[in-house]
């Protein structure tokens, strides 16, 4: 059993959970994830690790409250216990001295991007961060980013902060920057990853995405997380979750993620971005 140390809504519909898991806290690195079950009858769901405290033996994750498991998770009070937390799973983010990196986080991805920004900074990169949400009240951890990174930019669907629109505006941001960017890295919902990758393709900037397919065991045993990357089938849980965004077969991934929608157990890490984007495109 794993103890919930802290649990609260961080912005509407977005939850932050800190769990006592000392062995995982000792090992985890930027870009890795855990799999947990909220209760004995529960599903196993993957969640990116957004922060950790090695000394206190805790890990922190941020998720959107959208499926049955996440809504149950969000109702758990501090001090309660959950039966399964396993990790750290997946490969760590590729962190090197690249030069200037542009990190983009949407929705819960604002959380999981944070350790990547920290590690990139530690390696001496110039780190530019773009965070993206429907409206300014959905941003979180801005203060943490502000003290960490070289530049923090915003995109909101409603224009309440920063650029108006969605991740499709990345090329404009890149042009306005007036400095070369050596690598782009995106965390967020599938829509965000895809649109971001589309936007950088023509610019020829290497773009790394943190994929989020459905998973069960997270160790390469079931293969439900398979994705086509560069024409090859990969298991995201053990060969990812980071892949080259220009090589991913997005249509297939989007379809595979929808396979259990009908069962109402909407897989985690879905957001309404796509819908909202269409709406905002229709009005504009």
């Amino acid at each position: 059993m794993y103890k919930i140390i802290a649990s609260r809504m961080i912005v509407p519909n977005m939850h932050i959970l800190t769990i006592e898991a000392p062995v995982i806290a000792r090992q985890v690195q930027a870009g890795q994830f855990i799999i947990l079950r909220a209760e004995e009858e529960g599903e196993r769901i993957p969640l990116s690790v957004s922060d950790w405290d090695r000394a206190r033996g805790t890990i922190t994750t941020i998720f959107m409250n959208i499926g049955s498991t996440t809504s149950r998770l969000s109702q758990l009070a501090s001090g309660s216990f959950i039966p399964t937390v396993v990790g750290p799973l997946g490969n760590a983010s590729e962190i090197e001295h690249f030069g200037t990196v542009l990190l983009i986080g949407g929705c819960y991805g604002i959380g999981s991007l944070y350790p990547v920004a920290r590690a990139m900074k530690e390696k001496g990169n110039r780190v530019l961060v773009v965070i993206e949400a429907r409206s300014s009240y959905l941003f979180f951890w801005e203060d943490r980013y502000r003290v960490l990174v070289d530049k923090l930019l915003h995109i909101t669907r409603d224009g309440s902060k920063g650029l108006k629109g969605h991740i499709g505006r990345i090329p404009e941001i890149l042009t306005a920057l007036d400095e070369p960017v050596h690598r782009v890295l995106i965390n967020g919902c599938t829509f965000c990853l895809k649109r971001g990758s589309d936007a950088t393709r023509e610019l020829g900037i290497k773009t790394v995405v943190d994929l989020n397919p459905i998973m069960i065991d997270g160790t390469g045993m079931c293969g439900v997380c398979r994705v086509s990357v560069g024409g090859m089938t990969k298991f995201a849980c053990v060969q990812g979750p980071e892949f080259d965004g220009h090589e991913v077969d997005w249509a297939e991934l989007a379809q595979r993620r929808k396979s259990y929608m009908a069962e109402e157990v909407i897989p985690l890490r879905t957001s309404k971005c796509e819908e909202h984007a269409h709406q905002s495109e229709e009005v504009s």
């Binding site: 062995v23 396993v86 293969g223 396979s259 259990y260």
Partner: protein
């Protein structure tokens, strides 16, 4: 023995749920022998002086001795004899391929009346469970040594059971949230009720075996860092990496690996959705590709979930690698068999779900390396079979997580860990391995046999020998 007994060559059948009933439920298919049937069957044993059955048992159970106990109605002694050599009798009595092991060489097999050793073993284990009291063996004083066991499948459980009884401290590290390996995530409830696996696991825990679930060795901690704490380690991590055929359309929705299909169903109890929260689709027409036990389990599960279910196999019935009993069960229940049929590709609908499989008919040609006749395609025989789900059950290889994070651990071509057949020793000091991770997908009893040998070798090493 002076009087010569008349040979009774009639194997007593085990009562089962009738096929038209069981194909709609997940309850165990076979009920097991009644006391009377077990005793009758046991009395057929001729108590061979040179018992071939024992020689062909990977864990060398004293078969004639426990059979005699049943004939004498001394059930308590019977189960005690089995447990001296086999810590998982209720499981082995159900899923071991006895027809390839003890029963294959039973003296009575020549007259086709081989004793139903597995059924009697199962009877004894179930009899003991019904008594509600399990005899606890004595645990010797702690030797001061600690052993890490990686993987909680049959191989790991055997090593843990053997070593704890010799006074070592044992810790099992298991990636999933439950112990049992394939016994809990793969083999379905109707063939092996999970309550039975849990009972055997609880027994091991009650002996003092320490268990860490949710612990992926190679990720949560590496082998080398575990070995800073433990005097020896046994790797029994199984063959859990699913193969796909690498044909077009395999990533369509509705195409599963057998592991995914069975894990949703068994480990996550998808057949009890929504009481349990992991969904499994109620498909209408399911095709299972493959012909082994795994394929039979998938096809029979699909049937129970309400689908028309078919096995698609590229050779003929004779070559099916599954146990005969399971093939017959599947046939009785109405699974359709498409023999000499090879899937070429899958076509999907507009929303990315599989809607048909294109297959090619085969015919048997010359024998191949395995001695089985090689299936050769018949040109122009392609047909489309409408399906809404495909389960790929063509095999598994060992998961590379441990191999790739343990420097110096010698691996074979298919990613299996190289280990000595007699001792389980690997190329690395202090590391032993056994079961499917060494042999590739095999059987429960072979995994247990490998565990037994490794446990002996580890014990010797810990007590100051060289483990040879």
């Amino acid at each position: 023995m002076t009087e010569k007994k008349v040979l009774d060559l009639i194997r007593r059948e085990m009562p089962k749920q009738p096929p038209e009933v069981r194909k709609f439920n997940f309850n165990e298919v076979a009920f097991g022998y009644s006391e009377e049937l077990a005793v009758e069957e046991a009395k057929r044993c001729i108590q061979c002086k040179k018992a071939h059955c024992v020689q062909n048992c990977p864990v060398e159970i004293d078969i004639p001795a426990f059979i005699q106990c049943v004939a004498d109605r001394n059930f308590a002694e019977g189960i005690r004899i089995i447990k001296q050599k086999n810590c998982l009798p209720a499981i082995c009595g159900r899923v071991c391929p006895q027809e390839d092991q003890c029963e294959k060489v039973c003296t009575l097999v020549k007259k086709e009346g081989q004793l139903a050793i597995g059924r009697i073993e199962r009877f004894l284990a179930d009899w003991e469970a019904r008594q509600g009291h399990v005899d606890m063996p004595e645990i010797p004083e702690w030797t001061g040594k600690k052993v890490a066991v990686i993987g909680g499948g049959p191989a790991g459980l055997t090593v843990a059971g053997d070593l704890i009884l010799r006074g070592h401290k044992v810790t099992i590290f298991e990636a999933l949230h439950k112990l049992g390996g394939v016994l809990v995530y793969g083999i379905p409830e109707f063939r092996l009720p999970k309550a039975i696996v849990n009972r055997e696991v609880d027994y091991l825990k009650s002996l003092g075996v320490e268990v860490y679930t949710d612990f992926v060795v190679g990720k949560t901690q590496t082998m080398d860092s575990l070995l800073e704490e433990y005097d020896a380690a046994f790797v029994g991590s199984g063959a859990g990496l699913p193969w796909f055929m690498e044909i077009p359309g395999e990533n369509l929705n509705g195409v599963y690996s057998a592991n995914e299909y069975l894990t949703r169903l068994n480990l996550m109890k998808g057949y009890l959705f929504p009481t349990y929260h992991t969904p499994i689709k109620a498909h209408k027409r399911v095709a299972v590709v493959g012909g082994g036990n795994v394929a039979m389990d998938c096809a029979r599960s699909a049937l129970r979930l309400g689908a028309e279910s078919r096995i698609v196999y590229r050779r003929s019935r004779e070559e099916l690698p599954a146990r005969m009993e399971e093939i017959e069960n599947a046939e009785e229940e109405g699974v359709i068999f498409d023999f000499l049929t090879l899937p070429l590709r899958y076509n999907g609908d507009a929303s990315g779900w599989v809607k048909e499989m294109i297959v090619q008919k085969m015919e048997l040609g010359e024998p191949d390396a395995s001695g089985r006749r090689r299936p050769v395609p018949i040109e122009g025989s392609e047909v489309a079979v409408p399906v809404d789900a495909v389960v790929c059950a063509i095999g598994n290889s060992p998961n590379p997580l441990i191999g790739s994070t343990t420097p110096g651990l010698l691996l074979g071509k298919k990613g299996n860990i190289e280990a000595d057949e007699e001792t389980g020793k690997t190329s690395r000091d202090k590391i032993w391995a056994g079961g499917d991770v060494v042999t590739g997908a095999a059987t429960v009893i072979l995994a247990m046999g490998a565990g037994r040998k490794a446990a002996n070798s580890i014990h010797e090493y810990l007590m100051g020998g060289d483990g040879e």
